[in-house]
């Protein structure tokens, strides 16, 4: 085999234009395919995303029939969501009669395997978080995915205290995750045994979401409560 390779005459040189032509043609084909695929799937994906968000909002806020989208800007103002406005989304959900059911806010906390993104339901009446749904997590199956299923853990989010301080600028008590079985205050989250890091991520996500959005929500509550 070796001798065979050595006795072979050197192959004729490939012209440079041939190599260039090939790569250019392939790049053009590739570009066309990618652009067509992107343009075709863009409305479909946006539609899926919209339906998914709506479903999640109605899931954390039972009784909701319609929703309005808002955004908390970097300056902590609540503004109606539109193309030019960037910030954290806030969804105001209304029941069939047009009454405000609650608000869905989102936050992110660093977990065991990357960020954990969670949607929380906020009830301005009791000034507490009343529900949660993990939107994105890479947490270990069997441990971290209990964040959405463990009944004892979800009990934490039935009425998690999120009341504001006297000035209305931040939470009176930051939401924290505590070791399993040591919860004493209504703003604490009782961690899942064996998934402390993921539970802490959940706590950080709740705290981040609440600290950012709730002051703005409480300030604009009159506007939010008006049926559309």
């Amino acid at each position: 085999m070796n001798a065979d390779v050595q006795t072979q005459p050197p192959p004729a040189a490939t012209p440079a234009w041939l190599m260039l032509r090939t790569l250019v043609v392939i790049a053009v084909i590739s570009g066309l395919l990618v652009v067509v695929a992107y343009q075709t799937t863009l409305p479909l994906i946006a539609d899926k995303q919209r339906i998914l968000t709506e479903r999640l909002v109605f899931q954390v806020l039972p009784g909701a029939a319609t929703k309005r989208d808002f955004v908390v800007t970097a300056e902590r103002h609540l503004e109606p969501a539109s193309a030019g406005v960037v910030g954290d989304p806030v969804y105001a959900a209304y029941d069939a009669a047009g009454r405000l059911v609650g608000l869905a806010i989102t936050g992110t906390g660093a977990g065991y395997a990357g960020p954990v993104r969670v949607m929380f339901a906020y009830d301005p009446g009791c000034r507490c978080i009343t529900g949660s749904k993990v939107l994105k997590s890479n947490e270990t199956p069997g441990f971290g995915d209990k964040l959405d299923t463990d009944p004892a853990f979800l009990e934490n989010f039935k009425a998690l205290d999120a009341s504001l301080n006297a000035e209305g600028t931040a939470l009176a008590n930051a939401i924290v995750t505590v070791k399993h079985g040591t919860k004493t205050d209504p703003w604490q989250i009782d961690a899942i045994t064996g998934a402390t890091v993921s539970s802490r991520a959940m706590g950080r996500a709740a705290n981040q979401a609440a600290q950012r959005a709730i002051p703005a929500i409480q300030r604009e509550l009159a506007t939010l409560s008006q049926p559309n």
């Binding site: 004729a12 490939t14 790569l23 043609v25 084909i29 695929a37 799937t41 899926k48 069997g142």
Partner: protein, 231 residues
């Protein structure tokens, strides 16, 4: 043989790889399932095999995505095989493969955002899956369009079956369900390690043991009872 043909071809053609073309037979398809199974025989594509087989659905999604990329990139490589000089072939194949992976990426998002979230970065990582580049280099670049499509389909189905054989076992032992349907009572305590990376290694190792045992038994049939008695 191939070299002689190559020398005989004109100056331009010498830039291309020419080897004997295969005619389309049942073996073109079946080879990928069994004799050249990418996971159990060639041990290629171990990264997605271990990473996304923690549930049946993820395994199926990954397998089908890879099959899609295999077929379409194979078809394009095979169609362009006489225009791709061998100096730029790797660059060409990677661009072609990356294109179809991008298409799959958008397609999966359009089909199901949940599946897209579950498969995560492993969709994009199909670009560097060596099964696909291996098929492009070893098969599609030398064979006609139809055998290439059939061979790629065989390899893709072989890969999907391998992922499913890991995914079902891991999901069954890890969470007591198949495709999310609980099969055991609530008293079943999931064997959590099966959902974790070590579980992937355990199950893959056990399947490899099983398939190698099958192959060895076929090559060297067990000695008859007489040998045992003679000891």
């Amino acid at each position: 043989m191939a070299e002689t043909a190559n020398q005989g071809a004109g100056k331009e053609a010498s830039a291309f790889l020419f080897e004997r073309e295969e005619s389309l037979t049942a073996d073109t398809f079946i080879r990928g399932l069994w004799k050249e199974n990418p996971v159990f025989v060639m041990l290629l594509g171990m990264c997605p095999t271990l990473a996304v087989t923690n549930s049946t659905l993820n395994a199926l999604g990954m397998g089908l995505s890879t099959t899609f990329v295999l077929i379409f990139s194979g078809a394009l490589v095979s169609s362009l095989r006489n225009w791709i000089p061998k100096q730029v072939r790797i660059a060409s194949y990677i661009v072609i493969i990356a294109t179809f992976v991008t298409l799959v990426d958008y397609l999966i998002q359009a089909i199901s955002l949940e599946l897209y979230a579950a498969l995560g970065a492993f969709i994009q990582l199909i670009v560097v899956n060596c099964i696909i580049l291996g098929r492009a280099e070893a098969y599609a670049s030398k064979q006609r369009l139809l055998p290439t499509i059939v061979n790629s389909l065989g390899t893709g189905v072989g890969f999907t079956l391998a992922l499913l054989s890991l995914g079902t076992v891991r999901e069954l032992l890890g969470s007591g369900s198949i495709l999310g349907v609980q099969l055991f009572s609530d008293n079943f305590q999931g064997w959590v390690i099966m959902m974790l990376p070590p579980g992937g290694f355990f199950v893959l190792g056990t399947w490899l043991l099983f398939f190698n045992w099958l192959r060895l038994r076929k090559q060297h049939p067990a000695p008859s009872g007489a040998t045992v008695h003679a000891r």
